[in-house]
């Protein structure tokens, strides 16, 4: 598509949403690299210390799931509250931001799940060599009892829900201000809750609220539906939002 | 710099004409570009361009492509002739009208003019 300007520079061929997705992914990737590096060091250190006194009976990596749900969640909030203004003020559309944000968020969520699952498989191998139990916290169950793929899929759904919730929390604060944002929190956090409740491939996969076997019927398709609904809600909330003045 | 009520481009054109008449700008001299005018006097380059266009139309300036604006040969004479014409029709006529109103006769005027320093003494 050519423009009517007669400047010497060629027209941008990369669509706006792709540029935005790339920029946001850059932000997430940088922070995730640090987070995983730190997590690995911590897990190895804790296991080394604990194993001196007792036989290890639980996965160390599984403990980090909390961090990799809530830390990226908080970055996603920041992405919406500050990058949205910069994006539109720099002349790009809200629509391209939404698309870029959702793609970057889902990519990060899935990426974290892939890393976590890979680490769990590696951890299980190490535990087997050392004769430790790769327990999930439930008596008698191991973390990857239902298969690594299933577990990984569940994590991917959960972490993605966390990212989308972060985006939603961000736009609620952006639109409604401090008090309104807090009041809207339960709604904005519902994707995480719902996904953990009805969207898991296994009944007692790790969720943010513990490993208790679900009494609700659970199916990954429902999880996908929850994610789709969250993305749709984000789209509706951002597509015509007035852009605020930059803070500070 | 712009203390007249006319549009700025008119004032710029006038000041360039004045510089040519006084000899500050000689025939063949290059005039400042529109950009230089704009940045020196903080005016819109389009305004300067308008003034130049008017002077080009009059035959006072000419454009040399890629180089700039120059005072045309004969510009001073051209302006002088026009000014001389205007002197009689625009400046002298009202003075004569007022003289008539005040009852000053032509003879009074001639006598007054004779008393003025002669052409040689005048600048």
């Amino acid at each position: 598509m050519t423009t009517t300007t007669s400047t010497a520079r060629p027209t941008r061929r990369t669509p706006q949403w792709r540029r935005s997705a790339a920029w946001q992914l850059g932000v997430y990737a940088y922070l995730m690299a640090w987070a995983w590096a730190i997590a690995l060091v911590v897990v190895v250190a804790v296991l080394a210390i604990v194993s001196r006194s007792v036989d290890v009976e639980m996965s160390g990596v599984a403990f980090s799931h909390h961090a990799f749900l809530w830390f990226p969640f908080s970055i996603a909030i920041m992405v919406t509250t500050s990058l949205l203004t910069t994006h539109v003020a720099a002349g790009m559309t809200r629509a391209s931001f939404i698309r870029g944000a959702i793609i970057a968020a889902l990519t990060t969520g899935v990426g974290n799940a892939v890393v976590a699952t890979t680490l769990l498989v590696a951890e299980r191998w190490v535990y087997d060599r050392l004769g430790w139990v790769h327990g999930s916290g439930d008596v008698g169950r191991t973390v990857l009892q239902d298969g690594a793929l299933r577990y990984g899929a569940g994590l991917a759904l959960l972490f993605s829900a966390g990212m989308l919730s972060g985006l939603l929390v961000g736009i609620c604060f952006y639109r409604l201000g401090g008090l309104g944002g807090i009041l809207a929190l339960p709604l904005a956090l519902s994707p995480i809750l719902l996904t953990g409740w009805v969207g898991m491939p296994s009944d007692d996969q790790w969720t943010a609220w513990g490993n208790a076997p679900g009494s609700m019927p659970s199916h990954p398709l429902l999880g996908v539906l929850v994610l789709a609904a969250a993305a749709a809600a984000y789209h509706l909330l951002v597509r015509r939002v007035p852009i605020a003045k930059k803070e500070g | 710099m712009f203390d007249g009520r006319e549009p700025i481009y008119v004032q710029i054109a006038e000041s360039i004409r004045a510089e040519i008449l006084s000899g500050a700008l000689k025939e063949g001299d290059q005039v400042m570009s529109t950009t230089q005018y704009a940045t020196t006097y903080r005016i819109n380059p389009a305004t300067a361009a308008k003034a130049f266009a008017q002077l080009v139309d009059e035959g006072v300036l000419r454009k040399q492509r890629g180089v700039g604006m120059f005072v045309t040969d004969g510009a001073r004479t051209l302006l002088r002739d026009r000014r001389r014409e205007a002197f009689f029709t625009e400046r002298l006529a009202p003075v004569l009208r007022e003289a008539a109103l005040l009852g000053i006769t032509t003879a009074d005027l001639i006598a007054h003019l004779d008393r003025q320093p002669q052409e040689g003494d005048r600048q």
Partner: protein, 297 residues
């Protein structure tokens, strides 16, 4: 023609129940420098924000380059609004900010931006949050000029900038405008400083359009008469006198409106000199005693 045209029709913008703009209809031709004036809170920033698609109109329509710019990729990425608050990435160095703008805006000239950073004395390794207010404003100017957007708008960017910095801004703006024509809208309180650059003047007052016309036309409607008090009074009889000052026997009267040019031409005969009225004075008068004038193109 490379700049965008700007027009609004019956534009209204409300924040909740407060109307920031009501029934604003303007038509700004492309490739010209337009001035946007108004008292604090008049609605200038709201108008500029709406043109930049930072918000949608509540009423009426906006057209940039002949069409609605809201969420239109081409129009938005070729429109640059430099706001006083500065829309930069505060915790990344200036040079990373330039990367961002180069990524976002197809018309951005990186080399020109770096040259401007140098002219304003800005260190590209510093972060915006470490800059003084004047430096932050200067950086805003740098990004706005280097964007070379067909529609470029400066919203009170002079705030915090000292006189030499403002001088650099005006100089760079005019030189680049001559080289790369585009549509420029400047909103400023320092009317004296920018008056001679403006080709048109649009005044917003309390959310409504007061006037929008050629700067030359507006100037032609004003005159100051200075001379012996009695002579000045005689000449100004029957015309709209908006101000008057005495210094001993000399009076200076300011006229505004449809002037009797015949009277003004005769002024010299009575020992009265006629001069222009600074746009600032016209502005003060018009916004203290607003009467709706017909908008001229």
């Amino acid at each position: 023609m490379t700049g965008y045209s700007v027009s609004t029709s019956g534009l209204g913008v409300s924040y909740g129940r407060t109307a920031a703009l009501t029934d604003v209809t303007i038509d700004l031709a492309p490739d010209r420098i337009h001035g946007l004036l108004g008292r604090n809170g008049a609605g200038k920033s709201t108008l500029l924000s709406t043109l930049a698609s930072l918000r949608a109109p509540s009423d009426g329509t906006v057209a940039v380059d002949g069409g609605d710019p809201f969420e239109d990729e081409r129009r938005m990425e070729h429109t640059c609004l430099v706001r006083e608050c500065g829309d930069v990435i505060g915790d990344e160095p200036l040079t990373v900010n330039l990367d961002w703008f180069a990524l976002a805006r197809p018309t951005f000239d990186r080399a020109f931006a770096e040259d401007l950073l140098d002219r304003f004395g800005l260190d590209p390794r510093k972060k915006p949050q470490a800059l003084s207010r004047g430096q932050a404003s200067a950086f805003g100017v740098v990004t706005g000029l280097a964007a070379r957007s067909p529609l470029t708008m400066f919203d009170e960017v002079h705030l915090g900038m000292d006189a030499p910095a403002r001088h650099t801004f005006y100089e760079a703006l005019l030189a680049d405008f001559a080289e790369h024509p585009r549509t420029i809208i400047i909103s400023s309180h320092l009317i004296n400083e920018i008056e001679t650059m403006l080709e048109t003047v649009t005044i917003i007052h309390q959310g409504r359009l007061l006037l929008s016309e050629e700067a030359d036309n507006l100037r032609a409607r004003g005159a100051t008469l200075t001379g012996p008090a009695a002579a000045v009074d005689r000449l100004t009889a029957g015309q709209t006198v908006i101000g008057s000052r005495d210094l001993g026997p000399t009076r200076q009267a300011t006229l505004f409106g449809d002037l009797d040019t015949a009277v003004l031409d005769r002024a010299a005969d009575h020992g009265v000199t006629v001069g222009p009225v600074p746009l600032q004075d016209l502005f003060i008068h018009l916004t203290e005693h607003p009467t709706r004038t017909e908008a001229h193109a």
